[in-house]
Structures are given as C-alpha cells and as structure tokens.
C-alpha cells in the first residue's frame, strides 16, 4: 500500500514539472486503429472529432483542447498500453479516448487508475470493461444493451423459433447470450445457436443450415465488414428473405456499410442506438459538417457519434472544471450527465459510468433511391443488462 502511495506521489510530482509552452492546452490522447483491416474506425473517429472542433471551436471555457491521434493498428493490447503510457507520461494528456477493441481498452485499466487519467471509451463494447477501472467512462454502447431489448422485441412480435448465428469472438458471445436470454424468457424457442470462426470467408454453409432448419427468423451478430456483407448477401440470394424469414441484427446495416452489401440488405431489422436519419440539431450539424469537410459521400456511424459525444463530455468537463482538475473530478462531473447527442439524448450512469440510451428498432428500406435504416420502434433509456445480472 505504501509503495502505491509513494509511486502516486512520485508520479504527481513528475506531473508538476513544467509541461511545455501552453499551460492552458488540454491534451486528449486518442488511441484507435488507423491502419490495417480496421482503419475505418480510426477514420470515422478522426473525421467526427475534426468536425466537432470545426463547429465548437478548439477551446472549451478558454482552454485549448488538442487531440493527439495514435494508431493501435488492430487488436494489440501491448501496443495500446505502450501508446497510452507515452501519451500520459510523455505528452501529458489529461484524457484518453477512443479504443475500438476490448483488449486494447482493457490493457490500459491499471495504468489509468494509477495515473488518474479519465478515459472515454468510444467503441469497445464488452460489458465488463468499465468495471476494470474507476477512470473509465463509456459513451458508445454495450452489446447486451442492444440485443437484450431486441430479444424481447422479437419474442413479443410473434417469431416463435429463432436461429442465431454469431461470429466466434467476445462481442459475438455477448450479443448471442443476451439475445437468447431475453428471447427465451419471453416465450421464444431457440432452434440452434451457431458460432462461426472469425476467419471464415465463405458463409454459404452456415446460412444454408439456417435455411434447412426453417426458423421463423434469424438473429446474427457479425463484425461489420466481409462477414456481415457475406451473411446478408447469402440471406438474400439463398432465398431465406424470399421465404419470409426476417433477419435481425445490430450494427451490420449501418448506412456507411450499406453500399457494399447492396440491395440484399433491404428488409433487415436491427437494434441500434443511433439513427442516421434522425432529425435533431446535433445530428444535422454532424452530418452537414462531415459532408462539408470530407465530401458528399461521407456518412457518420456509431463511431462518429461516440467520438462527437465523447468530445462533448470532455469539452463540458474542462469548461466547468478548468484544465488542471483532478482526474476523478472530471469523472464525477461526467457521472449522471445527460448529453444532447446526434442519437437523441443519452446519460452516463452514475453508478456504472456506462452509457444509458434509447435503442431504436429499425428496418432497411429504400427511400428516394437510397437505402436507409428507418426507425419504427423505440425502447427508451436502456441500461446495460449484463451489469445488472452480474453484480460486483
């Protein structure tokens, strides 16, 4: 215990040394993938943050906010931790942000606790992450938060038998578990639950098996990219859609990915916390600024929204508490805070520091020659069910 206090004091003493020219400048270290197979996450984060700073200026309450971007490459916890260390010790960031992947987010837990650095998770979706350090705040979502309400919704709308297919990795397991739990609790029957290896290229056999099992509906969870594109194409072309077997999912049909899937996606029903079509002030600002800055085809997705809102949290915290407040004070500020977001309103749960938000049920339709997700039902202010079911 003594050693911890001593090292914390030593660290604090180190921080007290002059940091550089701009004593007012508040640095935010954003760790995300900018290269490799997941580069789109980093790009969405960065574009959204630049848009935010264009609209809201680069200072909050008179303090300059500077974002430093670092490429974690992919799921690489060692690199993520190394970058976080450099950002904290060398660049003296006051906040960390980003984290597209759970392992990368988890790797910095001890570090941010010891260094007292508030960390805004903008994507990593495994429910338990925020428990690993009191310095985490998440403004994106958890998978149980989406698939739990979806399971209940599907059961309540007359689909008696469902076949689930998810990718065999953490988020897939999370999504499947919660869906199955609420779906069966509300009277549904699971025909089969299959987990496909993440490295799968051809999903035809998996979808064929689903067709043969003749369910009322199918539930999938695939990372957005080749897996989700492949599964949705097969759902359409293999005749499941035509046979009246609807597809339920979460993030697979976001507008930014729809062009690559094509018309095969029409009719898919998903549960998400962000509706790109939503007509509210923040969303209109986000969309317009993005297209102004980066071209007419720029479309926001959940990464963009999380980054936009994450900056809002940081800006507000710094404006209220100034640039040199204690890390925990910033966290306390964010606890219980409600934010006007492009997704509507969301709140940071004061107990769990996780996001509480509306979940929209929407369907992919063709509107004015473009494919969009149209919301037709809303489940208000959903807390992450996993934490409620697994108390500490």
């Amino acid at each position: 215990m003594m050693k911890r206090i001593v090292s914390a004091l030593a660290f604090a003493a180190m921080l007290a040394l002059p940091a550089g020219a701009m004593a007012d400048s508040v640095k935010v270290g954003l760790i995300a993938p900018f290269s490799g197979g997941f580069a789109i996450w980093g790009q969405q984060f960065q574009q959204s943050i630049e848009a935010f700073q264009k609209v809201n200026g680069t200072s909050a309450g008179g303090n300059e906010i500077e974002v430093i971007y670092r490429d974690a490459g992919g799921p690489d916890p060692a690199k993520s931790k190394q970058l976080a260390e450099e950002l904290i010790l060398r660049d003296k960031v006051k906040f960390l942000a980003g984290f597209a992947f759970t392992p990368n987010a988890m790797a910095v837990a001890d570090l941010i606790t010891e260094a007292n650095v508030p960390t805004v998770i903008m994507n990593a979706a495994t429910a338990v992450i925020v428990r690993k350090s009191p310095m985490y705040v998440r403004d994106s979502m958890t998978l149980p938060q989406q698939t739990g309400p979806l399971g209940k919704w599907v059961a309540e709308h007359g689909y008696k038998k469902v076949y689930t297919l998810v990718s065999d990795y953490g988020p897939g397991h999370d999504a499947e578990e919660q869906f199955v739990k609420t779906y069966t609790a509300n009277g549904g029957t699971i025909v089969d639950s299959v987990r496909a290896p993440l490295s799968t290229t051809d999903y035809a056999p998996y979808v064929e098996n689903m067709l043969q099992a003749k369910p009322d509906a199918i539930f999938i969870f695939m990372p957005a990219g080749p897996p989700s594109i492949a599964v949705m194409q097969e759902w359409d072309k293999r005749g499941l859609k035509a046979a009246g077997i609807p597809l339920f999912g979460t993030g697979e049909t976001q507008e930014v990915f729809l062009p690559a899937i094509g018309e095969a996606a029409l009719g898919a029903i998903t549960a998400q916390h962000y509706d790109v079509q939503a007509d509210n002030e923040q969303n209109n600002l986000l969309k317009k600024t993005l297209t102004d800055m980066f071209g007419k085809d720029t479309v926001p997705d959940i990464a963009s929204v999380a980054a936009w809102d994450g900056m809002r949290l940081i800006y507000d915290a710094v404006a209220k508490l100034g640039p040199d407040a204690d890390g925990k004070a910033y966290i306390d500020f964010m606890k219980g805070r409600t934010v006007d977001s492009p997704r509507g309103k969301f709140m940071i749960d004061p107990e769990t520091r996780d996001v509480v938000q509306d979940i929209y049920i929407r369907k992919v339709v063709m509107k004015d020659g473009k494919m969009v997700n149209e919301t037709f039902d809303t489940i208000p202010m959903v807390k992450d069910p996993w934490k409620a079911e697994h108390p500490e």
């Binding site: 916890p77 690199k79 260390e85 060398r90 392992p103």
Partner: protein, 339 residues
C-alpha cells in the same frame, strides 16, 4: 561474402591492436546504448522494452531462418505460446516472474520440438505453409479456449510479483526494461556460443547443402530439430516477457502479421549476423512508431518502401552498412587490418 562477425579471430590476427579494440568496442556498443536509453528515454521506455523483446524474438528467428535455413512464417506460434503460458501461470498459479519466464520458455520449446518433429522433413514453400497452418490452428485454439486465454478479449488480470522478490514492476516501466535487458543478454550469450560452436557451423552447411552434409555423416534432421526447438524456446521467452511487462496477452501474439513483421525486422538488419536482429528490430520499431505518429494511415507506405529498398539495394541488410563503416575505420586506423 565476407562474414566478419563469424571470424573475429582472424581479424585479431590481421590487425592486432586496432582490430581487437574495434571488435571489442563493437560488441559493447549495443549494451551501452541500451543502458543510455534506460536513463534518457523517459516516457518512451515502454517502446524501448518492446524493442528489446522484438530483438530477442528476431534473434530467435535468425537461428532458425538465418543460420539453419528453415523458412518459417510461423515463429509467432512460439512467441504466443510463451506469452499465454506465462500469462496463464501468473493468473492461476503463481505471479513470480522467474517462474513464468521459465514456464513460457519450456512450453514453447516443447511445442517447437513436437511440431519440428512433424514438419522438418519438408522444405521450401511446403515447410513455409506448414508453419503457417500450425500457427493458424494455434490461433483458433487460443480463441476457442476462452476460459483459459480470455479468447478474443485477451488475457487480462496479470499482476506480476516482484522480480526475484525485490523489484516491483513500476508505472514507468523501469523494472520491466532492465528485467528484459538482462534476459536478452543471457539469451544473447547463448546464441553467440551456439553459433560459433561446431554445431553452429554445421548449420551453415546444412542451410547451403543438406545433401552434402548428410553425405559426410551429419545427422541433419536432428540438428534442424535441435535448432528449431532452441529457437522456439527463445521466442517463447520473448513472448513470456511481453506478457509480463505489458501484463496482458492478446490473440495478436499468435497472428500471421506478427510472424511476418519479425521476419521483416530480421532481413532489414541482416540475417546470420546476431546483431542484425538488434539493428533490424530497433529500426523497425522506431520507424513504425515514428511513421505512424506522422501519419497513422500511411506508415505502411514508408515501411514497405524501406523493405523494397533494402532488398533491392542492401542485400545483406543494414548490418552491411555497419560492416562497410567498420572497414573504413579499420583502414584508417589499422592499416594492414583492412581487407
């Protein structure tokens, strides 16, 4: 093909004082630099530790690939096994760093022995494919065995005890760096001796002409198996160090990308030059870090271009530049010492 590092004795004979002094200085330099880095790196110490681990990893590949000619893109298998073994031990049994280090090394060596026995009779691209297939299988196993490995989320909750009961792993990474440096030095001595031993010489022959070696009675297959297992052990240590210093193990430690990257490091620096691993690993780690900070999207361009340039223009890797410099200095200092 002058291989100066392979014949230090000759150099000593050729140019008494200057040559010996230069050789000695050359050997000491990397370690002196490492110590200097320790005192000056500040917030970058973590990067330094990572570089040291990669040096060890690249050195292991040099033994198998550079000296013995075993073309493998599956070296990450041993790194990953060492990492997971050390991590799982720390989480479930004991968090003593030395125990984890030994455990990781031994498990990786055994795996090397087992898979080597299976595939080392093949050659060329077939061997390459085998190593890739084994690596991919191992990746899937680690992904599936979630309760043990954490699966896709990674193995977290590794909290290491003090090194030798004395040195705590601190926030700054100082203990981690020195710990890694000591282990690296230990393995370096082993590698140096092995490469200069008769066993090591025979590897040279095996790489160049296995048939002839067999004809003169060398037990080729056994030698290959031995060096493959040794290389696996070394890579396993590197993996264990990674798990212990970052206190986390991700599936990427079993990734094909990592295997490719370590091969890149080795060739950049120069194969069959133990120090090639040093130069290559440090250059790659530093360039990748620097380039990705300048432009996170396009650092691959810089590294790729560098690779192409090195292969086309600097056949023996960057170490050949060091050689050239050394020759110049020797010529200037020692007269007859130069070739």
């Amino acid at each position: 093909m002058t291989d100066r590092a392979a014949a230090p004795g000759l150099a000593a004979v050729r140019a008494p004082a200057a040559g010996r002094w230069l050789a000695w200085a050359g050997h000491v330099t990397p370690w002196v630099i490492a110590i200097i880095v320790f005192f000056t790196a500040g917030g970058y110490l973590s990067l330094g530790t990572n570089a040291l681990i990669m040096i060890l990893f690249a050195m292991s590949l040099d033994l198998a690939l550079g000296y013995a000619g075993i073309v493998t893109l599956g070296q990450a298998a041993f790194f990953g096994i060492g990492a997971y073994a050390a991590g799982i031990l720390a989480v479930n049994v004991t968090a003593d760093p030395t125990a984890g280090l030994v455990f990781g090394t031994v498990v990786a060596a055994l795996f090397g022995l087992f898979t080597g026995a299976l595939i080392l009779h093949t050659r060329g691209v077939t061997l390459l494919m085998m190593t890739l297939a084994i690596l991919t299988l191992l990746f899937e196993v680690a992904n599936q065995a979630g309760s043990l490995t954490g699966g896709d989320d990674g193995l977290h909750g590794i909290r290491m005890d003090r090194v030798l009961g004395l040195f705590r792993f601190d926030l700054w990474g100082k203990t981690a760096y020195l710990y890694t440096l000591v282990v690296l030095f230990g393995w370096f001595l082993v590698a140096w001796r092995v490469v200069r031993s008769p066993f090591g010489r025979s590897l040279d022959g095996i790489r160049q002409n296995p048939k002839r070696m067999r004809a003169i009675g060398t037990p080729v297959w056994w030698r290959l198996l031995a060096v493959y297992s040794l290389s696996a052990a070394m890579a396993g240590t590197a993996g264990a160090l990674s798990a212990q210093t970052t206190q986390f193990v991700g599936l990427n430690t079993l990734g094909v990308f990592l295997s490719g990257i370590v091969a890149v490091m080795l060739v950049l620096g120069g194969t069959r030059r133990i120090y090639g691993a040093f130069v290559g690993a440090v250059i790659y780690v530093v360039v990748q870090d620097y380039a990705s900070k300048i432009n996170p999207y396009y650092w691959m361009f810089i590294v790729g271009a560098m690779l192409i340039a090195v292969v086309l223009f600097l056949e023996s890797g960057l170490m050949s530049l060091v050689d050239a410099a050394r020759q110049r200095i020797e010529r200037a200092l020692g007269g007859p010492g130069a070739r």
